[in-house]
């Protein structure tokens, strides 16, 4: 027999679903998204080099998530498809974080009320603007609610504690090195009150949306560059705005093969930047 044995009130049903989703999200490690003077930084505790929690969506838009990997990966791919389709049929500048956040909100909301199980995810869609005041950070939760955040967001197991610490210590106009050190310190705090851990660069996934770059502004940070940025005694305060010279996929800045700005092919091509790029 498949008949409902008991009456369940809608309030109870929604509360059960929300509790279920919250529990799933709280099990994961946290992600911090915070603005700095030249862009938006993303810091996640993630030992994997292949299964990302932070990703590029479009020229000035990135995505960060906590929760179940298969579910947020699904949303990430949908976001890339949404952005590329929009950019292809209109223009690159017509792809906005607000539009994507709305589409995600509708999707998460519909899944929360209609499907047998809500998505156990919390995501951030961030867009870097021409200046710090134009940056946009949207936080989306499992039930489809959207919040327009200013300056910083922390999600995941220790999200609330990290966020209250960020309220005290985050300042607009921080340098990248200061912003990253702050995020890494807070990620290492034990929410249960135990000893603090000090996270090493290999345990971290770090990326930036750099407002000074032309076109695609998203870059991951790793290697000696990340180590230098996290070391308060090192003079490196910021990531370079040009890619490195080592041939290959330039999605990560490692600081190992720096390039002179004058020979950066991405900036040396003003004419074709106006070409029919989707």
């Amino acid at each position: 027999m498949t008949s409902m044995p008991f009456y369940v009130s809608p309030e109870q049903l929604m509360k059960d679903r929300a509790d279920f989703a919250r529990k799933g999200i709280a099990r994961g490690r946290s992600v911090v998204v915070l603005g700095y003077d030249r862009g938006i930084a993303f810091v996640a505790e993630n030992p994997s080099r292949a299964l990302h929690k932070v990703s590029e969506i479009y020229d000035r838009i990135a995505f960060a998530a906590v929760g179940k990997y298969n579910e947020f990966e699904n949303l990430r791919v949908a976001g890339v498809r949404y952005a590329d389709l929009r950019g292809y049929s209109y223009d690159r500048i017509d792809v906005t974080a607000r539009g994507l956040a709305n589409a995600y909100a509708q999707t998460l909301g519909a899944v929360f009320t209609q499907e047998s199980k809500p998505y156990e995810v919390e995501i951030v869609v961030a867009e870097v603007g021409a200046g710090p005041d134009d940056d946009q950070i949207y936080r989306l939760t499992y039930d489809g609610s959207v919040a327009d955040e200013h300056g910083f967001v922390a999600m995941g197991g220790a999200g609330e504690q990290i966020e209250s610490a960020l309220k005290e210590r985050w300042r607009p106009g921080m340098s990248l090195a200061d912003a990253l050190s702050l995020a890494v310190e807070l990620l290492g705090k034990d929410p249960a009150g135990g000893a603090n851990r000090s996270l090493t660069p290999t345990q971290l996934e770090v990326a930036v949306l750099d407002r000074e770059r032309p076109r695609r502004t998203f870059r991951r940070l790793g290697g000696t560059l990340l180590t230098a940025l996290l070391n308060s005694e090192d003079p490196t305060r910021d990531a370079p705005t040009v890619d490195e010279t080592a041939p290959g996929h330039h999605d990560t800045l490692t600081g190992e093969t720096p390039r002179d700005a004058a020979t950066n092919p991405q900036t040396q091509n003003p004419r074709t930047d106006e070409g029919p790029r989707g």
Partner: protein, 275 residues
């Protein structure tokens, strides 16, 4: 149809797992956006702007691609400063000959295709992979080609695995052929190929490869009315892309002017040009 309670929700096609191809995605979700899926009225030839000559030649450590700037519509010059050589991604360039409107739409789709793959997979496609993706787009355009709206691209890129420049040519049926050393497509290609054969040498330095490519375009423009030569009065030079281990870069106008002036000076009283 009324908007249901999930209006605004991303359609299922966005959330389906599997394909990293943008073309496959819009083929399933928004086929009207694909140039090859548009129904054409039967019969009746008409004139649309055509792009003309593209040349490409390898050099020590990479490959150069050059294109003239003219688009023609019958006996009319439709455009004198059209760009026909484009960066497809960081390590490859594509030049187009044939019906300009469809060719430019295909290039735009190809650029999104490569970037889409990069973002979804977090890796670059291999050079053969890129060449094959372009072949499948040309193949899908066969119906249009049979109505006279053909597109024939030339694809050149730097192969990161072999550390060398490579050239791929296409036919209207989507056949993809790797070319050795140098190649040219378009209405002036017969003359450009002759010039390339006589001037190209193995392991040329990049500056000489650029000058060989400009000579070939000049020869094509000399004998083919649809190919535009350098326009000194308007300062319109052929577009030249260099692809090497540092990526794609387009030569700036002042550098091009120097190369073109050298070629023109070399032809004063010697119309056959360098040999």
């Amino acid at each position: 149809m009324s908007l249901g309670h999930d209006a605004g929700r991303l359609p299922a096609a966005y959330l389906s797992a599997g394909s990293s191809s943008f073309t496959d995605f819009i083929g399933a979700h928004a086929p009207h956006l694909l140039p090859s899926r548009r129904p054409l009225p039967a019969g009746g030839a008409f004139e649309a702007p055509h792009g003309t000559t593209i040349v490409s030649a390898t050099f020590a450590g990479g490959v150069v691609m050059a294109g003239d700037r003219r688009a023609t519509m019958g006996n009319i010059i439709a455009n004198r400063d059209m760009e026909k050589v484009f960066a497809a991604d960081e390590y490859s360039a594509v030049g187009i000959a044939g019906t300009a409107g469809i060719a430019i739409e295909l290039v735009k789709l190809f650029q999104v295709e490569l970037e889409h793959y990069e973002k979804i997979e977090g890796a670059l496609l291999s050079l053969e992979g890129k060449a094959n993706r372009l072949a499948s787009m040309i193949r899908a355009n066969l119906g249009m080609a049979m109505q006279g709206l053909s597109v024939v691209p030339l694809f050149a890129g730097y192969d990161l695995d072999r550390s060398q420049g490579r050239i791929f040519s296409y036919d209207v049926t989507g056949g993809c052929y790797e070319e050795r050393d140098h190649h040219s497509v378009g209405s002036g290609s017969l003359f450009a190929r002759g010039a390339l054969k006589k001037l190209w040498r193995p392991s040329l330095p990049v500056e000489q490869a650029v000058s060989v490519a400009v000579e070939a375009i000049y020869d094509a423009a000399d004998d083919d009315s649809a190919t535009g030569g350098p326009d000194v009065g308007r300062r319109i030079w052929p577009s030249v892309a260099v692809v090497d281990d540092a990526g794609v870069r387009f030569l700036p106008d002042d550098e091009l002017r120097a190369v073109v002036e050298q070629v023109i000076d070399g032809r004063q009283g010697n119309p056959g040009g360098a040999r």
